[in-house]
Amino acid sequence: MESFLKSGKLGSSTTKVDKSSHANNETSKKKRSVPWIEKYRPRTVSDIVEQNEAVQVLEQCIAGADLPNLLFYGPPGTGKTSTVLAAARQLFGDMYKDRILELNASDERGIQVIRDKVKTFAQLTASAVRHDGKPCPPFKIIILDEADSLTNAAQAALRRTMEKESKTTRFCLICNYVSRIIEPLTSRCTKFQFKPLDESKILERLQHIAKEESLQIDSDVLNALVKTSGGDMRRATTSLQSCSTLKGKDTTISMQDVYEITGVVPEQWIKNYLQACKSNDYSKLEVFIETFILEAYTASQILKQMNEFIVNTDEFNDKQKAIIGEKLGTVSYRLQDGGSEYIQLLDLGCAIMIEYSKT
Amino acid sequence: MKRSNKWIAFDVDTEVAMKSKEPAAASFTNVDTPKNHLRLSNSCSSINLIEKLKPKTVDTLAVHPKKVKEVSDWLERNVIKRQARVPVLVLTGPTGAGKTATLDVVCRSLNINVREWINPVDKEVDERFYQAQSVCFLEFFSLAKYNSLCDQVGGHQVALVEDFPNFAINNPTEFVNVFERCLGHLPVVFICTDASSSKLDLLQTLFPQEMREKYRIEIISFNPISATLMKSALKRAQSFVQKKSDLFHIPTAEVIEAVVISAMGDIRCAMNQFAFACLKGVGSIPLEANTTIPKKRKRGEKTAIIKSMERDETLGFFHALGRVLNPKRDESSQLFKIQCDFESLIDQFSTQPSNFNAFLQENYLKYFGDLGDVQLASDILSSAQLFLANWNERHEIMLYSLWVGVLGLMVHNRHKLSRWNQIRGPTKLKTITNTSGENFEMGAMDHFYYNKITNSDKFHVFKLRN
């Protein structure tokens, strides 16, 4: 119990892991919403789907009861955090909560965090014996999530700490883009690339969750969920949970619900958009965009889906695709940056229209 | 000539300043001047002309009559009637606002003698009798109350400090001490010129608020000379010059106009320029100088005056705006060369790029004569604004914004309209929000219907104009 209280200083998500581990024992009377993403996190390194290379190396490390400094990079939802948490669990057993410090870099960025939190935690000593007398590795792990959003100064400050505390502390940097980590840091870590998950693997996992939660869901609806996730396990899981929250346990989750929750724009709208562009009639395009916005669909989402279409279509040659692709990029950036959906979508529509008229 | 003699006597110049130190010698020069004067005006008219152009009576002052009245009231109350125990007056205002001239002219009209303190310079310092400047300063005050021999008998005295002693500037606290000790001898007038840097702002450093209250110091602040007043002063000067057309070239109305504009309210600068313009046609000046006068190159001449007679090196905010909005080009060469030291201009406003750009935006339209130019310029301003919005924590990028804005406007103004426009401050775009309480959910876009349904005009109505 003592260790449970101490966990207050840990990152929030680890606290949740703790709850989830007890979730099965808890009665339904006290229904705390536990994100499924925490509830169904893999427990051991071997549970990790895909990522063979990383898993192999880590398993060897765990067998030898040591870890190098790690740098995990890859797209979101590919199991980076899960991997390191699972490894820690295997290394330290029950007391793994004491031995890790998880920092979400984009929340508390800046050099001060590195100086205060990381250094103080790194300077704590770790004994080689567990509370119950069993031996355990004499070090702690500091997990820096989203390390690519650390400022350069903070990263530089980390460099020194990493070396100085190497006896008692291992670092695990997790990021989406390795290029944003400064060279001196990457050279101090063992790098692992995480690839987007295979759709079949995600499907497997979702089916498992659906069974555990006793959801009523068809396999093709699950398939649709997997498709919209784009190899992101977290997104697939959260979407599934949202569906079930909204619909309740006793009704079937339909395809419609999946689209609604994930915000995917139905195929028909994409077709209409292109149709409007093809017609070379500006007023049609204008009307389409007005209705699209009135229906409250998300413009950034349609851009994503358009991108997929443009890349795969035969209607344009490569040069035209490049021109449209550039426009897509610009428009998408402006939208994210606060531009109006109406004007930005019109802009894209006009660009496509011009390309259509050339063919 | 008699008048002029009188004027010289009251002139506050180095020459006269010595008078207060050595009254006898000063009076001697005084007497002597008329002859010198005549001789000088025959050989070289310049010095003479500027002297002659100085105002001699209250009517000829270019200062606003209200200010003159204020000064003369004070003098009457405190110097002639001696109402206040320790009368102290501070005159403030920008350079060339006519502070000294007003005091001189008014004193003369009231028959008051002015004793001015001038920092002793180049005095042969005898090590043994070395006196601290502050002691000299005190001495000046105690001696000043005695009439000098050459003054009119029974005249009142007033001490004038325009040339602040060095110790006052270096050590304001010491000045306060000395100031207290020299009070009561005489009514004192201090003249503080406005300065751009706070360190040189004598009014604030030497006469802080508590001190002003303690000694009931009165402050009369002068404004820059308005364009109309300056113009009439120049007209007077012109008519004076016309009488001596054998000696002077008579400047055209355009030149006078240019002088008024370029002087920016500085009468001294305007008079100097005027005198300079008068000289141009004189035979003693090489002939090519004459060729700059013909009507066709009027504009070039105008810029020449403005260039050569810059008011001072620290630009006023509005002056700088004017430079950017009304860029001077080197028209002689085909190259697009801007005649402006924009680096220093930008340096000076580097602390307020956002404000400067806002001013530029508010005013630039009036200076542009071509839509294409405006389009380029507005695009530039929009980009400059983008810099300011996105990187407002990084100073160097804010500077780039200033660079882009300033240079962009200057370069793109190819068809400029050269006319006098009043500079306006940026429009305050504070959204008028409805926080009255009721109709919290009523957006601005629904106000129209609210007005209509309730038959009221509680909210703003957009009226169509044609």
Binding site: K31, A299 | L371, K452
Partner: protein
């Protein structure tokens, strides 16, 4: 007196007029133990606020209808005082953080912290959390959005957020993924007609379906505006005449007139007068993107397709810039100047082609 818009606002999830299936789902949601953070998005006049109030009522009962307006004060680290109007009941508080502009982060953080730290006083209340309604979240700064996502997780035990936005494009994926998104599409024209007729019936008025249709079309599927239009028409003339004039908002006409002025004469003087018009619009609270949008769609009307494309791409550029900083007028003016140049050239070319 209360306007029809407020008088006939549905107060209960089961009484909503459209999106009935969604209402059903929301009802289920409120009865379950774990109520997630919600993100309600849709165009204006689609009924987002109505739905939020219904959800609140379903959660807490009629107590949420006892609203009070309050002014909250915040202080920034730089000691600047911020004031913001809030509407609150015992169970919830509603604010629009974008009212304080760039300081929204402080307001959001402080408010959530305060609310989360005060426990629910009403012991009998069936909920262990309070609700914070944030409106206009698509105008939140990046900073505030980052702050929000951390606070959302931290204080989930004591408070839930309901975010209300016009579109989700501007929200970071991190926020979107932490909320249950509820899309509220604008009601269709027949739905609006139906609602108008119901309201008129309750008021004891008769409205012909053609006229209701006309209003619905004019309203651009904005229910709120449709009801306001209808009431305004009634004030103007009753019984309704089939060809009765349906007044459009004055600002809309104003922007149109401005656009006409631009198309009519392209000169520096016009630009200067357009600037005055823009100032007037901005000062009286017409949102920038509405001004821009209306202006663009009005301006392109007389252009051919290639010019349209060019103008739209310029519009997209300047509209994006408009979102940065607080000096929208710079970008408005640049766009208008750009349009004038393009349009002038277009007209000149057209004239040249004729001869």
């Amino acid at each position: 007196m209360s306007l029809w818009v407020d008088k006939y606002r549905p107060k209960d999830l089961s009484k909503l007029d459209y999106h009935k299936e969604q209402a059903e789902n929301l009802k289920k949601l409120t009865h379950k133990g774990d109520f997630p953070h919600l993100l309600i998005y849709g165009p204006s006049g689609a009924g987002k606020k109505t739905r939020i109030m219904c959800i609140l009522k379903d959660l807490y009962g009629s107590g949420v209808e006892r609203l009070r307006m309050e002014q909250l004060n915040f202080t920034t680290p730089s000691k600047k005082k911020l004031e913001i109007m809030t509407v609150s009941s015992n169970y919830h508080i509603e604010i629009n953080p974008s009212d304080v502009g760039m300081y929204d982060r402080i307001v959001v953080m402080d408010l959530i912290k305060n609310v989360a730290q005060t426990q629910q006083l009403d012991v009998n209340g069936q909920r262990e959390f309070k609700i914070i309604v944030l409106t206009d979240v698509d105008n939140l700064t990046r900073d505030a959005q980052h702050a929000l996502r951390r606070t959302m997780e931290k204080y989930i035990a004591n408070c839930r957020l309901i975010l209300c936005a016009n579109s989700t494009s501007r929200l970071t994926p991190a926020i979107r993924s932490r909320c249950l998104g509820i899309r509220v599409a604008a009601p269709t024209v027949p739905e609006i007609c139906c609602i108008l007729q119901t309201i008129c019936k309750k008021e004891g008025l008769t409205i012909r379906s053609e006229f209701a249709q006309k209003i619905a079309e004019k309203s651009n599927r904005n229910l709120r505006r449709a009801i306001l239009m209808c009431e305004a028409c009634k004030v103007e003339q009753y019984p309704f005449a089939p060809n009765q004039n349906i007044a459009e908002p004055d600002w809309l006409m104003f922007i149109r007139a401005m656009a006409r002025k631009i198309s009519h004469e392209q000169s520096v003087n016009t630009l200067a007068s357009v600037r005055g018009d823009l100032y007037e619009l901005i000062i009286h609270g017409i949102p920038n993107n509405i001004i821009f949008q209306t202006m663009v769609s009005e301006l392109v009307k007389n252009c051919d397709i290639s010019l349209k494309a060019e103008i739209i791409s310029q519009a997209a550029l300047f509209e994006h810039r408009l979102q940065h900083g607080n000096k929208a007028i710079f970008h408005f003016e640049a766009f208008v100047a750009k349009f004038m140049c393009l349009y002038k050239r277009f007209l000149e070319d057209a004239v040249a082609d004729v001869f």
